[in-house]
């Protein structure tokens, strides 16, 4: 039974991976770029689910970690575009030389490292204090929103450093190659698929091991875990930090493919949307958030392209229906379906595997 389940999951994973790898053959450049963006979101969703689905900590502030990663990459790209000169928005704001905090971002390796380290450090700092003081549940959730408000307001206000509401855009090259050419976009797509696969597999190893069981223990009974000798705040801080770092990576991949980052992408509303991806896909599974992120964003794009004036109705309705009828998300539907099929007819097992290949 168990080995079969594992086998099935592995098949799903491989099928999806192969489809993603061959997607460039079927898609136009524009659509491939969109899919790449969705996959960057999927990476973030995995990290968010590690925190919410497994550890039971709901953060409504992951946009900010995503944003910090994205801005780190964008700052490097911007400097590369201006050839190390002062970016245009700084000049308007009356700056005459490159501010100190921009200097490290001239070097791509440093920029990438900081794009992971800065979100991780902020999450560690806030998480360490908050979890040590045993702030949990909705209090933490609101706290994470306050963090978003603080940082977004600062980002918008410090226009001379961050480009304000406009954010950073108009990039030209990365390592000397044009970032916007279809060829580099293809490369970015494959990098995203690769990173997604690596993060997915690593997180799977994490949650399947003893660590994952401890996380579930913390989710279902934090205080009981204390009396088993665990210090839940250490674990929560770690997962929060890890998930912030993953969000940072996702942000960097986002900027490479979308070519712009602005405060509208990192505020309260996107942060809530990120949680919705996980909820719709199915929290507490790793494949769920991936499906959720791609599904919700594809639906959003699809609806808004077909019905630009009414698409928010569809989106809102979708959230309501899925939450009410599918509390375990889309993956919950498949598990249910599979269970039913197996109960109904044992000989139908061939069909079941067929239905999976349609995933």
């Amino acid at each position: 039974m168990i080995s079969q389940k594992l086998f099935n999951n592995r098949i799903i994973f491989s099928v999806i991976l192969i489809l993603l790898l061959f997607a460039p053959l079927f898609l136009t450049d524009f659509r491939l770029n969109l899919l790449g963006k969705f996959l960057a979101f999927a990476i973030l969703a995995i990290g968010l689910d590690l925190l919410w689905g497994y550890t039971g900590v709901l953060s409504l502030g992951h946009g900010i970690f995503f944003g910090l990663g994205a801005y780190a990459m964008a700052m490097y790209l911007k400097l590369e575009a201006t050839g190390g000169q002062l970016p245009d928005f700084m000049a308007w704001s009356g700056m005459s030389e490159l501010p100190l905090i921009w200097i490290p971002f001239q070097y791509p390796i440093v920029a990438i490292a900081l794009g992971i380290l800065i979100p991780a450090a902020i999450a560690f700092f806030l998480g360490y204090l908050t979890f040590r003081n045993r702030i949990s549940g909705v209090y933490f959730t609101i706290l994470s929103q306050a963090l978003v408000l603080v940082l977004v307001t600062l980002f918008v206000g410090a226009q001379n450093l961050t480009g304000g509401t406009s954010g950073l855009t108009n990039f030209k090259t990365l390592f000397g190659y044009s970032v916007n050419s279809p060829a580099s976009q293809m490369v970015f797509y494959f990098i995203t698929v690769g990173v997604l696969a690596i993060i997915f597999i690593s997180c799977r190893i994490l949650v399947k091991g003893r660590f994952g069981k401890v996380l579930v223990g913390i989710r279902d009974g934090e205080n009981r875990m204390r009396f088993l000798g665990y210090n839940p705040s250490t674990y929560k801080t770690f997962v929060y930090t890890l998930s912030a770092a993953i969000a940072g990576i996702a942000g960097m991949l986002f900027v490479l493919q979308v070519g712009i980052i602005s405060p509208t992408m990192i505020g309260i509303i996107p942060s809530i949307e990120m949680v919705l991806w996980v909820a719709l896909g199915g929290r507490g599974t790793l494949i769920g958030p991936v499906i959720g992120a791609v599904f919700v964003n594809a639906a959003k794009t699809g609806f808004s392209e077909s019905y630009p004036e009414f698409w928010t109705y569809f989106l809102g309705l979708m959230f309501v229906l899925v939450v009410v009828f599918l509390p375990k998300g889309i993956t919950g539907l498949f598990t249910k379906w599979k269970e039913r099929r197996q109960k109904q007819n044992d000989t139908a097992s061939i069909e079941v595997s067929k239905s999976y290949s349609r995933l």
Binding site: Y139, A146, V150, V156, G221, R224, F310, T312, G316
Partner: protein
């Protein structure tokens, strides 16, 4: 000195606005544990009702009675918003009482739909509501002007607060509500219809949002996104005050209001906003359960 008085008044005034928008939430979120992200849209309902009543008066009522529209729209906003709240409770939220975080997600969807609905009905641009003439101008004491509209909102929020306290602590119906919120099984055993109480409580919370929407027409823009600009502030107030404590919400609202005004006065609006949220984060580190703490004996 005058500056200090004025800043203090502005702080109290901001606090009263925060209290008004958070009062409904303190009931639906604080007492019922429903994270209603559509609360902002219920505020919007109240604001649009005021707009509608104004238009009707403009068209049909003689000019000298025009100002009455505002007095009339307060109860009307309360009723309509409460009605929308009941609709929401019956159709959606009652299925989600055991899943508070899911209520957050579903009501977020409801919020999106209501916003778009407002856009379809009233158009995307802001609509204008003319303040009644008796609220124009202000009370002049020495060199300081206290705008009547601010004083009115302060009074309105205090009246709402008093009504709620009276209802919850002095009436039989209110006691039933408190009984259900504190111990559902026990109340059920004693023959209280928890279904009705849930509906009623949610209706009260929603209705208060409607009143807040009505009051906000005196101060700012009335458009489809009016709710989104207030909802987060409202949640902050409830959490800082302490979930489940009405008195906490009062302290939270005036605390945030006064500090925010002082910060803004000393620095600027952007920095003031940053500082107030940093203060909230720091405060919650110090008092993780808000100003007023509800003790619980259960392990988790």
């Amino acid at each position: 000195m005058t500056e200090m008085i004025l800043t203090l008044f502005n702080g109290i005034s901001l606090g009263s606005i925060l209290l008004l928008i958070a009062l409904g939430l303190a009931i639906t979120f604080g007492l019922m544990n429903v994270i209603n992200m559509a609360h902002g849209e219920l505020i919007m309902v109240g604001a649009y009702i005021t707009y509608l009543v104004q238009n009707i008066f403009m068209q049909y009522a003689p000019e000298k009675y025009f100002d009455l529209y505002f007095i009339l729209s307060i109860p009307l906003a309360l009723i309509v918003a409460a009605g929308v709240g009941v609709l929401l409770e019956v159709s959606l939220i009652r299925h989600l009482y055991k899943r508070p975080l899911d209520s957050l997600l579903a009501t977020w969807g409801v919020g999106l739909i209501l916003q778009q609905l407002a856009r379809t009905i009233f158009g995307a641009p802001n609509v204008g509501v003319q303040s009644p003439s008796f609220l124009n101008g202000g009370l002049e004491l020495g060199s300081i002007t206290f705008p009547y509209s601010r004083i009115f909102i302060l009074l309105l929020s205090l009246i709402c607060l008093a009504c709620i306290f009276y209802y919850f602590y002095r009436t039989a119906s209110g006691r039933r509500v408190r009984a259900v919120m504190q111990n559902r099984q026990m109340a059920e055993c004693l023959g209280v219809s928890t279904r009705k109480v849930d509906m009623l409580t949610f209706a009260i919370g929603s209705g208060l949002a409607g009143v807040a929407g009505c009051a906000l027409t005196l101060l700012g823009a009335i458009g489809p996104t009016i709710g989104t600009s207030y909802i987060i502030d409202a949640f902050m107030v409830v959490v800082v005050g302490g979930v489940g404590a009405l008195f906490g919400a009062v302290a939270g609202a005036f605390g945030i209001g006064i500090f925010n005004t002082i910060f803004e006065f000393l620095t600027n609006a952007t920095l003031g906003k940053v500082l107030i949220f940093i203060l909230i984060i720091a405060f919650l580190q110090w008092r993780p359960s808000g100003i007023v703490i509800n003790r619980s004996r259960s392990l988790d």
